[in-house]
């Protein structure tokens, strides 16, 4: 830093109406930060490896997962692979993949002390929180597309993309099945967003990545557990874990929209309060770390 004094730029008065960055600018940088972190690729790696393991397992054993929807068709068409993966993924894999980033995205900045760095620039706290939420959802969507895409690709290569037998027993042509698959992923994204919102809240409140990730996963597993207790069957339709199955209604003929509609508002009931609580805490909290 020799002779830095001679090179220092003169302080300039900022323009009276300084153009402030919006949520979009923060969001783009949140995505860049995610791309630069190993944790992100750990989640993506899981989303890629699990379909590969599934296909390898199918090749190594004769029987199939006949006890799950579409399980009996996995060797008949690659179109049956993604639905079966979604069912397996809903138990703990996707909650974990989502929590891995959503539970870390605020707490990590707390731990590194970079929260104070970005909160002393020209962006407001609510913008930062919204951008982080959008980035976490974008990551979850990317992981979901990767998960289903790799399953479809490998299944298609190995077993071909033949027409799919719907849950109603009817035959769905390949093109139509792919459209329905995309819609099913959209429905699957609803509880994924709710898990992300819960993980974000925990990340903001606990200021600890590990606690937020494990906490979000535990909440997901707790709901799975409650869902299998027969005495609590009455609340099962309103558990987050149940909403991970809502997409199956779209693979019936005619399509059963009721579980999807219910998933939309039930997931909103989980996601909205968690998001608003996280936002309220983030906007008002003391940034004393780092």
């Amino acid at each position: 830093m020799s002779a830095i004094a001679e090179r220092a730029p003169a302080p300039a008065a900022p323009p009276a109406s300084r153009r402030r960055p919006g949520v979009g600018a923060i969001y783009r940088w949140e995505l860049r930060k995610l791309r630069a972190q190993k944790r992100t690729f750990l989640g993506f790696g899981m989303a890629v490896i699990v379909p590969i393991i599934f296909i390898v397992a199918l090749e190594l054993q004769k029987g199939g997962p006949n006890d799950v929807p579409f399980g009996r068709y996995v060797r008949e068409t690659g179109l049956a692979i993604p639905p079966v993966l979604l069912i397996f993924g809903s138990i703990w894999l996707f909650p974990l993949i989502v929590a891995l980033v959503a539970g870390d995205i605020v707490a990590n900045e707390d731990g590194n002390g970079t929260l104070k760095t970005i909160l002393t620039r020209s962006v407001d706290r609510h913008q930062v929180f919204v951008a982080k939420t959008l980035a976490a959802i974008t990551y979850a969507l990317a992981a979901l597309l990767l998960f289903a895409g790799v399953g479809l690709l490998l299944g298609g290569v190995r077993y071909g993309l033949h027409p799919l037998t719907s849950l109603s027993g009817t035959r769905i042509e390949t093109g139509r099945a792919l459209e329905l698959m995309a819609a099913a992923l959209g429905a699957y994204l609803l509880p994924v967003i709710a898990v992300a919102a819960i993980a974000l809240l925990l990340s903001t409140v606990t200021r600890n990545s590990a606690a937020a990730i494990v906490g979000a996963l535990m909440i997901s597993l707790l709901m799975q557990l409650v869902g299998i207790i027969s005495g609590l069957a009455a609340i099962k339709p309103y558990l987050l874990s149940t909403q991970f199955d809502a997409w199956q209604g779209l693979l019936r003929e005619p399509a059963d929209w009721a579980p999807v509609v219910r998933a939309a508002w039930v997931c909103a009931l989980y996601a909205a309060p968690a998001f608003l609580a996280g936002l309220a805490v983030f906007v008002r909290r003391d940034v004393a770390g780092g």
Binding site: M1, I4, P9, A10, P11, R18, W29, K116, I118, D124
Partner: protein
């Protein structure tokens, strides 16, 4: 509110408590434009907590802080227009390069901040290392990157929390030169530090804090003059000179100083009388020179002792509530 309507920094009655501990206790601060203001105190005195409140990072339990007349808690990021700096060590994303970090900061600053990246990197001599990830940077390099990140905002007010901590002597010198240069060009600087030499070299005014309270606020010159004049004396017989000094009217605080002794005297007449008394006693004077009290000496007296006697000009703040304000009024 217009930026011209307020001082660069104006804090009134700031209080922050953590449980039973009062980290910041009714702090008042006014930093005038163009001033290099030293915020001085031992570790744990509440300096960093005060800076965090000024930047809106933490909420005061009582009081209000305004930057150029704008309250960060009320106006959010808009209140930080023209303001930059860092609290404690500057922190960056370790997995991004130095340049990427600055690009991120510039994106979050908006306007033409991105155009200043190259200049800022040159200024802090990090242009050659801009493509290295920050996790490989030394502490000093991170400090310099912190300055570069601040310069992107073309600030008129710079808040620096112990910016030379951890730097080598050359780095400390360069950092101080940079601060001096920025101040000479009109930037207002709040420098939190516990390094006396740094504050003495750079600052026009100081606030000294102890246990969360401002115990002195005023011009640095006034503080240095506030204890009365001290003198350094060397003689052919320091032992007898010591006894003569102790007995001489108007001469106080006689201390042995290894190769001589020091004493305080408010009146030059008392010094003249002492020199006559020494000669009459057969003690020859080899040196008798004024010795200004150092800021360090005053600092320890203020932060560890009972404070300074009230003098003309600025003075120690006697009580937490309104103390600093009273001190300022006394100086005007």
């Amino acid at each position: 509110m217009s930026e011209a309507a307020g001082h660069p920094i104006e804090a009134r009655g700031l209080v922050k408590r953590y449980g039973h501990v009062t980290a910041v206790d009714h702090v008042d601060l006014t930093v005038e434009a163009g001033c290099v203001y030293g915020y001085l105190g031992p570790n744990g005195a509440g300096k960093t907590t005060s800076l965090r409140m000024l930047l809106g990072l933490i909420r005061p339990d009582e009081g209000v802080a305004r930057l150029f007349g704008r309250d960060p808690l009320q106006e959010g990021a808009a209140a930080l227009d023209g303001v930059a700096g860092f609290v404690e060590a500057p922190r960056f994303y370790p997995y991004l390069t130095g340049r990427r970090n600055l690009e991120l900061m510039a994106a979050l600053d908006g306007g033409d901040a991105g155009d200043r990246i190259d200049g800022a990197l040159e200024t802090v001599d990090l242009a050659d290392r801009q493509t290295d990830k920050v996790k490989g940077y030394s502490h000093g390099m991170k400090q310099r990157l912190g300055i570069a990140a601040a310069l992107l905002r073309a600030p008129r007010l710079l808040l620096l929390d112990e910016p030379t901590t951890g730097l080598d002597p050359a780095g400390m010198r360069d950092m101080r030169q940079l601060v001096r240069r920025l101040a000479d060009e009109g930037m207002t600087v709040l420098l939190s530090s516990h390094l006396m030499g740094e504050v003495e070299e750079l600052c026009d005014r100081v606030a000294i804090v102890r246990s969360g309270r401002v115990i002195y606020e005023g011009a640095l010159d006034a503080l240095l003059k506030s204890t009365g004049q001290r003198y350094r004396l060397r003689t052919t017989d320091d032992e007898r000179a010591f006894a003569i000094c102790r007995a001489q009217p108007g001469v106080q605080e006689v201390l042995g100083a290894g190769d001589g002794l020091t004493f305080a005297a408010d009146q030059e007449r008392a010094v003249a009388d002492l020199s006559v008394a020494l000669v009459e006693a057969g003690v020859a004077i080899t040196a008798l020179v004024p010795a200004a009290a150092s800021l360090e000496e005053l600092f320890f007296r203020l932060t560890e002792g009972d404070g300074l006697p009230a003098q003309n000009g600025d003075r120690p703040a006697p009580a937490p509530e309104g103390a600093a304000a009273a001190s300022r009024e006394a100086s005007r």
